[in-house]
Amino acid sequence: MHRVYLDNNATTPVLPEVFEAMRPYFSDQFGNASSIHHHGQQTRAAVEDARESVAALLGCRASEIVFTSGGTEADNLTIAGLVGAGDHVITSSIEHHAVLLACKRMGEIGAEVTVLPVDGRGLVDPDDVQRALRPNTKLISVMMANNETGVLQPVEEIGRIAAEAGVCFHTDAVQAAGKVEIDVRRIGCDALSISGHKIHAPQGVGALCVRKGLRLQPLFYGGRHERSRRAGTENVPGIVGLGKAAEIAKEALDRGDDKKMAALRDRLQQGILAQVEDAVVNGDGAARVSNTCNIHFDHIDGEAMVIALDLKGVAVSTGSACSSGAIEPSHVLVAMGLRPDQARASIRFSLGKQTVAADIDIALALVPETVARLRELSPTYRKAAVSS
């Protein structure tokens, strides 16, 4: 079966160039980057090269990059590393669980937590951030792009508010990296998280950009790796992969590849809306990253839709992969004002660098007929059709 993968916000395939860059570091160049000898020097050089590539993608200094096991660790390191009992943290209702649940945990150990609402487009209002500030506010954490809708948040405005108030600002840029230009100085953030496997590097590696001079309490204790910010022998092949992927992402952005991606995404979106009645784009009207569209198909069971499309070779999702199998409807869509049944009837399509026009054609051929079949067999759709 020819398979079309449109779930790149869950994970992306490692690009061949990335894989080739990593290959020597599994066997030939195996040294521990902390070792004094030749072997250690080889891998140390590779790690520092990768650090420079990642710094170039984010517009920060190489010394500000801390390699982690992924986006979740980068988010947790920031939140647990900065916030303590008696501190106040401001976040939003549409954050990834890596941020939301880390903040919740801080609440359990004595911090105050404010979770800001979003509007119908899924946007945080910077005025809400301003109003939520308290004398003891330590950290604001608002994501750059939402993983379910792709909606870009007003991070630069929030960055200005944070700077004026003298409060740390963290942004989870896991779903923004490689899709839009990132410049930590322009955003004015003190910390920014990215994940390797969302930008065609392998799973198990990520990075946190931490502003010079900002001290974080580490999550792990051990060696003095990553300038004592993250103990543990470096995942050298993963870090090399992340460096290569960051390099490729930056070149692609400089070339304007994101506009081609947006054109493919728009063709998918418009094609679906043209063929399917009662379909609405979640987050419509807000600026979105180029690869994501999230569509609410009235009266379908999103779970059944994902399974039906998978059996036909098209991989999509109902939302965050981390929430699969859960009963709760997407907290992001509910925060945007969708009813639980509408949230459950929403499907996320997310493109990657490997997505080609033929993939979109296949999706456009299969999605409308699948929605029609689901609706035909839906007890509630029949009822609604009769009563209207």
Partner: protein, 378 residues
């Protein structure tokens, strides 16, 4: 497999198998796959075992069987081993609405419910069948011990007892409609449990020796009273005050009882009164909250009314019909006559009085091995 099902099965269909993580449904998936069908494994996530654990006296550890992480793990590993796509579908909301709620409400009204039948009617052969059709499967196969066959003479789908009488599950399946039966496959209907385990071993399934589940899947340890307490407490609802009098069949008040949901018709132990001759619960009155007790002879009755009736082998009961009737899962069907007693109500008159006819349980009518239909004992 029943003859008509064999014929049906000769064409290679896409079949969804309801996989619970137990040996029966796992073996069904393996055998259908080996026969060359396009098999999709589905597990229904119906109840979160951790939801009530540790609350109001419920055990801390997760002991219940259904929908535990272990069972989903087992089902998924079988699907991976035999090479079929596998998905978990979440129907917790429907399960709570259609099974848990009625289960609790029946008990506090003085009846003794059967959640398995509700689950079959509202979830396994309704929701799951819809999902199966939506994802392109023409039918659903389960590990139930029962048989389905199309009867040309009557022009109806029949539900029949399985080869292994000791595993007969037709009592829990009386609510299936003709449409549901037409899309249902019970591949274990012609097999005995030892044969199923042997087949599981032949297919190399690691769970071939996994013990059978016995209790109600969502009630860990079988203590339904604690479950009801914990559920109502979680919902922020007080357990309705169902305490009342313990009364003899002669109207003599023996004392007080703590709540009618603690009693089941036929129960002897735990009545809290000492008398010379053994006393049994004869009747539970939801309205007056009385528990009526008496000697064993009062437990016997010749008639019952069955409501919310589903007929399978016949389209209607135009005249009285001789059948055998089963009034609880472990009950030898007893000879009786059934006749219409009103809209959606059937009067069952047994040849011999039956012990402990219990409101809330099902009365299922058999003609030999064929399930004529059934209803809920009023």
């Amino acid at each position: 497999m029943a003859k008509s099902q064999k014929r049906f099965m000769q064409t290679k269909n896409t079949i969804a198998v309801a996989m619970s993580g137990g040996v029966d449904s796992s073996t069904v998936a393996a055998m259908l796959r080996a026969e060359g069908h396009n098999v999709i494994g589905l597990t229904m996530q119906l109840w979160n075992q951790r939801r009530l654990s540790g609350k109001d006296g419920m055990p801390e550890s997760v002991q219940g069987r259904c929908c535990s992480l272990d069972d989903v793990y087992d089902a998924r590993r079988v699907a991976q081993q035999i090479g079929i796509p596998y998905y978990v579908v979440n129907h917790e909301e429907r399960f709570e609405r259609d099974v848990i709620r009625p289960f609790v409400e029946e008990y506090v009204s003085g009846r003794t419910p059967i959640p398995c039948s509700l689950c079959n009617n509202h979830l396994k052969f309704d929701q799951l069948l819809i999902v199966a059709q939506q994802i392109g499967a023409s039918s659903v196969a389960t590990g139930h011990y029962a048989r389905v066959a199309f009867d040309d003479a009557r022009g109806r789908w029949l539900l029949k007892r399985p080869a292994d009488a000791s595993k007969d599950q037709t009592y829990f399946l009386f609510g299936l409609t003709q449409d549901q039966l037409s899309r249902t496959i019970f591949p274990l209907g012609d097999m005995t449990k030892p044969e199923v385990r042997e087949l599981a071993r032949q297919h190399g399934l690691a769970l071939a020796e996994k013990p059978d589940s016995q209790e109600i899947c969502f009630v860990p340890g079988g203590d339904y009273k604690r479950f009801i307490d914990a559920y109502l407490a979680e919902q922020g609802e007080a357990l309705p005050d169902t305490a009342g009098e313990l009364v003899t069949t002669n109207g003599e008040v023996l004392g007080e009882h703590g709540g009618i949901h603690n009693f089941t018709v036929g129960q002897r132990k735990g009545l809290g009164v000492a008398t010379g001759s053994p006393l049994y619960v004869i009747q539970i009155s939801g309205a007056s909250k009385q528990v009526i007790v008496g000697g064993e002879d009062h437990l016997y009755s010749r008639t019952l009314h069955a409501r919310r009736v589903n007929l399978i082998a016949v389209d209607d009961l135009h005249e009285p019909m001789r059948v055998t009737v089963k009034i609880r899962h472990r009950h030898e069907p007893a000879a009786a006559v059934i006749e219409r007693a009103g809209e959606d109500e059937i009067l069952v008159t047994f040849d011999e009085p039956q012990r402990a006819i219990t409101p809330g349980q099902a009365a299922v009518f058999y003609d030999g091995d064929v399930v004529v239909g059934g209803g809920w004992i009023a």
